[in-house]
Symmetry: C2
Subunit: 449 residues, 2 copies
Amino acid sequence: MLSYDLDEKNKYYSLYEHIRDDILSGKLKSGFRLPSKRAMAENASVSVITVQNAYDQLLAEGYIYSKERSGYFVEEVNADFYGKRELPEIVREKKAEYKIDFVKGNTLTELFPFSVWSRLMRSVLSDCGEHLLQRVPCDGDAELKRAVASYLYRARAIDVDPRYIVIGAGAEYLYGIIVQLLGRDKLYAVENPGYGKIRSTYILNGAEVVGVGVTDAGINCGEVEKSGATVVHFSPSHQFPTGAVAPVSERLRLIKWARENDGYIVEDDYDSEFRLVGKPLQCAYNLCPDRVIYMNTFSKSLAPSMRMGYMVLPHGLYERYLKLFESSACAVPLFEQKTLAKMLDGGFFERHISRLKNRYKAVRQAVYEKVKLLPYPTEVLDTGSGLHLLIRFPTAKNDEEVKERAKKIGINLKCVSDYLLSPAPVLDKCAIINYSGVTEKQISSIEIN
Amino acid sequence: MLSYDLDEKNKYYSLYEHIRDDILSGKLKSGFRLPSKRAMAENASVSVITVQNAYDQLLAEGYIYSKERSGYFVEEVNADFYGKRELPEIVREKKAEYKIDFVKGNTLTELFPFSVWSRLMRSVLSDCGEHLLQRVPCDGDAELKRAVASYLYRARAIDVDPRYIVIGAGAEYLYGIIVQLLGRDKLYAVENPGYGKIRSTYILNGAEVVGVGVTDAGINCGEVEKSGATVVHFSPSHQFPTGAVAPVSERLRLIKWARENDGYIVEDDYDSEFRLVGKPLQCAYNLCPDRVIYMNTFSKSLAPSMRMGYMVLPHGLYERYLKLFESSACAVPLFEQKTLAKMLDGGFFERHISRLKNRYKAVRQAVYEKVKLLPYPTEVLDTGSGLHLLIRFPTAKNDEEVKERAKKIGINLKCVSDYLLSPAPVLDKCAIINYSGVTEKQISSIEIN
């Protein structure tokens, strides 16, 4: 007779578990007739109802079957592998700690207008109420799309029909959508050197990628033309890491190439808000809205935890987008979308950017002053766009020496060559000073021996 | 001499725009020398500084170049395609309106505990403060992962190490991650009939997909074995649309197949919370956590606007996941993650589910009563799992007639055959009554002539 010690708190489940495990482990063989409910109840000192519940569950899951007037029998189950598993340890790499980090691209969150943000959130909660539970169309909330269009007009002089905007859960998410839209039968050109993340995200999404060299006029158009690519991902207003700005002639050459080859250009305008000298540069999208996908994100300008980005699609692509995704819901919660719309419409976002810019101007100034004190010859390469500049050390032995020197005084930095995706001629002995997550005080505290 | 009417409000930008457009349209040819700043200022009745600003912007963007002591010249730009574009209309399909919709799968939002949710949101805002701005690890906030693990233990008796949980922006997002994890060189088997969305999302992500038949014991294991697939996506606890529940013998057979073929099983437990009769069924993950990816979403149980889902990965896959995505941030905002964690830990989620279940039991009951009144012979096929059942009309001519009859009384429904991905033998004349977005009152109001 089967005999089990049952958990007093949940007898039915405990009985079910015991019998189930005995079947899985092979102790109860296929065809074995279980004790009648009454007998089992007596033996286990539980009620017949409890046994009935346990048997019902085993029946529903297919561990046993019943035959009218003869009782319950064990099903044929084959689980020779069944057993407890030992979970191995997960090793997560520990990162070294630095006093100053010029590698991480996180924006300073201390200037984020948290009280404004939380006030807007509260007002969205009370204004929108249960409407916040509704499904959001694939391309985002119409109110946010309109607010983004209007912001783009104010800040970037882009005249965009809000309908063509697609809101997505951050830049990487949108890269994935682009591959799904344009297809995997195309070759995608990315900047080399460039963000490894862009390349790896395209590759993870199944696209074939080729790296194309960068000159001081941005991505090398001649190389693009010869590459066989039909999609180009570039950042004409501030290439990372070289800082190159593409002049209009190069942008137009690339557009011409795209028009003639049924190609598309992804304009990644990732830090255009932060042109610290002069006005923002006109974007490539404006020159040819039929061939350029304009893309930007709020993760950098608002906060790293807010995965929100957007792209503006050419008309034909937008139609294809709708066809593919109309039955899907937007991946960004409506709540965040409504709050951001209020932030943009109320002018809070631009005020935040302007505060950030002032702060970064001071940081940049501090970098310049510190550089003057360096005991080695230096060249500063800076176009005034975005949140990084380059310092070249012509007398250093090599890139390793540049990084070693920095490491000795607690500074984490990378060189331009660290961002090569494949071998290519590139500025050597050139440190990238990405100051987006660094304070003036930190810069001043650097001790130069 | 160049002469422009400038916008009084923003003279510098207006001047810049005029010159830029003249260069792009070819009115100002390459090599043309611009008037000196002083001459331009006089001619346009603006200050020299204004002209300087406009010229600086043109310079920065590469429209002009300067030669020392000789002035500013137009660059060579090739923009023969440049011009204003007409935006075509975007046609979005208008959906027909029905009195009752048994097709849409949206959960009733009226029972959503909105006041609890907004209270929790407010408390997250004040408790977490600026911590909410921090970057979230790729696999989600540790607090939410722990809360989900603990919920899974309480509700589904799944003993899962919280570390192996990955939080993502909804089910479709996670399907994409699965393809990136497992690769595109594999064949993915999906249920046929089944959700078209699952197949199309895999295909959009570049995977090759094969449809595998469904019996009343769920996905046909024999067909899976012969298909050449090494990944199977199935819903053993409540197949859509057939409603089939896979008995443990079939689950084990599939697991055995996965173990022997280095395969993986995606267990889509999409509506397991809503087993309205008896207790939830044990999931396949429990039987073999090394080969099964368990997946579920909160979009159905909370609200359609909340794109939040999760999966539990086998150890080996979790390590590969970290390798691929450790440098990415989670696509779900931290704010929603913290709020959901509080909702789970406080027992609010389970209370909500239990309220929903009571409501759906009543709706289901109303369906049964209405069916009794139908003037045609019917068979109800219902395993008591999830939020849909099937009604078969054996005397109807065909599926079209079933849908036509429903349409006449304002009801939108589909038949099982509408979910065929490729031709296969399937129950005919079988209407799917998906009552997840329907009220008792709506059911009672159906007029049967």
